[in-house]
């Protein structure tokens, strides 16, 4: 088992137009992708949504890491496809759900790969969210890659003690994860206690009005992205309600099991 999927959600500092975007504009863009993906069950549209993200990833110079997160998502994607098929959905619908999952995964991957947790926190702060909440949020985002590394170490340590994750029946396999989960949770709690102490010793929460050296400003390009995103969203909502979309149907259905 590999923790490589998290690599595709980790921020890397790069100088690209996508990285330079205002986090709020980028968030709106990603949310629009999110909503549109949920509006349609049409394979063609969902494929377009997935493919339309490729130029963004290319612009953000994150192709390789995006590929990693996609690879990590393939197992789940396959599971979604099979579960849909086996529970009586059509082949086309199962395929659409799988592509929808990949489109969503990919959009979040782009967002987190190109937005620094600091910028995210700043955006929240400027939206007048209380600082303690912003801080909690940024810390959570920041800790994901650390936890992924921890998880890999714990897996390695337990395998060195003879744990075989993929051995036994289903129940046994689930139980196999106990020796992984407990050290992970315990070390997360230990880390959070240490973090809290370090914060308090640096006078966290002393002043309720915090000032920031960096102030986020929307540039014209950011406004443009926001407007185009919202226009696309309106178009999508309209299309989902009134337009006659070209349908592709692959005539195959798994025989009903019950």
């Amino acid at each position: 088992m590999s923790m490589r999927i998290f690599e595709g959600f980790k921020f890397t500092k790069l100088q690209t137009p996508i990285h330079a975007m205002d986090p709020r504009a980028k968030f709106i863009m990603i949310m629009v992708v999110f909503v549109i993906s949920l509006l349609f069950t049409n394979v063609l549209i969902l494929t377009i949504i997935l493919l339309a993200q490729l130029p963004l990833i290319w612009l953000g110079r994150s192709m390789r890491r995006w590929g990693g997160s996609m690879k990590g998502g393939f197992f789940l994607a396959g599971l979604i496809f099979l579960m849909n098929l086996v529970t009586g959905s059509t082949f086309t619908y199962s395929l659409a759900m799988t592509i929808r999952f990949l489109a969503l995964l990919s959009s979040f991957s782009i967002f987190f790969m190109t937005t620094s947790p600091d910028d995210l926190g700043l955006a929240l702060e400027q939206a007048h969210v209380p600082y303690s909440l912003c801080f909690t949020f940024t810390t959570a985002v920041r800790l994901v890659p650390t936890m992924a590394v921890d998880a890999q170490t714990v897996i390695d340590a337990q395998r060195s003690r003879g744990l075989e994750l993929d051995k036994g029946n289903l129940l046994k396999r689930i139980r196999n994860y106990i020796p992984i989960l407990i050290p992970l949770i315990v070390s997360a709690i230990r880390r959070s206690v240490e973090l809290a102490e370090a914060l308090e010793s640096r006078a966290f929460g002393l002043s309720s009005r915090r000032q920031s050296l960096i102030v986020l400003r929307m540039r014209i390009s950011d406004y443009l992205v926001t407007i185009v995103s919202l226009l696309l969203l309106s178009l999508a909502v309209w299309a989902s309600l009134y337009a006659q979309l070209p349908l592709i149907e692959i005539p195959f259905q798994f025989p009903r099991l019950w």
């Binding site: 170490t153 340590a157 020796p179 050290p183």
Partner: protein, 255 residues
């Protein structure tokens, strides 16, 4: 990460792998029980290629103790924690009970047998992690940074213990930055830097080499620094015990 690594460790060897942070020390030892497989080249453990077998099978002969005990402790009692691997390997319960008792006694952990491992101090947790590997009596033992978080007394015990293990014909590999600890153990030293082996030889040769140690971001042992700065003293003295012998004989000669 690792490049051109050509390393042969004999049964019963005592080897220290040293080098700067990120030199590839932990990566190297993770190949010893198959957690990492080389992308190129091969790793043979007891003439078996690691790629052709499982970690669980290799673990029986290569016991790897990780640096941070918190990455592996998960049971409610120290007893269960130490017995965990024996259960994985399918030992009968009377053997498990006997072995657990034995290893806990050796490592002074008997008073904590029914305590929760999470309630113990850092050093004690580290010893529980060590016990949980030694309990199945692996032929080769790999310790990743065993001295971190141990006070001087515990370090001294650990050193004696490692020497004892080695005397029982066990292969011992220690990954560490702790120059003073290694100076007192005097194993063969393998110096790693940037994923390559920079030097491989006796501790007293490598740890007294100014250029080598500097390149690996290590500070020479204090005794070596002292002896190399005083004219007329032997250069290959790195630990307190041999320094004492040299000084004693010098003083005697003067009388």
């Amino acid at each position: 990460m690792l490049r051109d690594v050509n390393l042969h460790i004999e049964d019963g060897d005592f080897v220290a792998i040293m080098g700067e942070n990120g030199a590839g020390k932990t990566t190297l030892v993770k190949t010893f029980n198959g957690l990492l497989k080389p992308t190129d080249g091969r790793v043979l453990i007891d003439d078996v290629e690691t790629r052709k077998t499982s970690v669980a099978a290799l673990a029986r002969s290569v016991g790897l103790v990780f640096q941070n005990p918190d990455h592996q402790l998960f049971c409610e009692t120290v007893r269960d924690e130490v017995a965990y691997s024996l259960r994985n390997f399918g030992y009968p319960s009377d053997v498990i009970e006997r072995r657990v008792r034995g290893v806990l006694e050796t490592l002074d952990l008997m008073p904590y047998v029914d305590s929760s491992p999470f309630m113990l101090s850092g050093g004690e947790r580290k010893r529980v992690a060590l016990a949980s590997v030694l309990v199945w009596n692996p032929k080769h033992i790999v310790l990743d940074e065993p001295t971190i978080g141990q006070d001087y007394q515990q370090k001294d015990r650990l050193r004696n213990f490692i020497v004892q293990l080695n005397a029982q014909q066990k292969t011992v590999v220690v990954v560490t930055h702790d120059v003073e600890f290694i100076a007192e153990c005097r194993p063969r030293v393998v110096l790693l830097s940037g994923g390559r082996i920079m030097a491989d030889g006796k501790a007293e040769e490598i740890l007294t080499d100014k250029a080598l140690t500097e390149r690996a971001s290590l500070l020479r042992p204090q005794i070596s620094l002292l002896f190399s700065s005083v004219a007329g003293l032997p250069r290959d003295v790195i630990d307190v015990f041999s320094a004492k012998a040299v000084i004693n004989s010098a003083v005697r000669k003067r009388k």
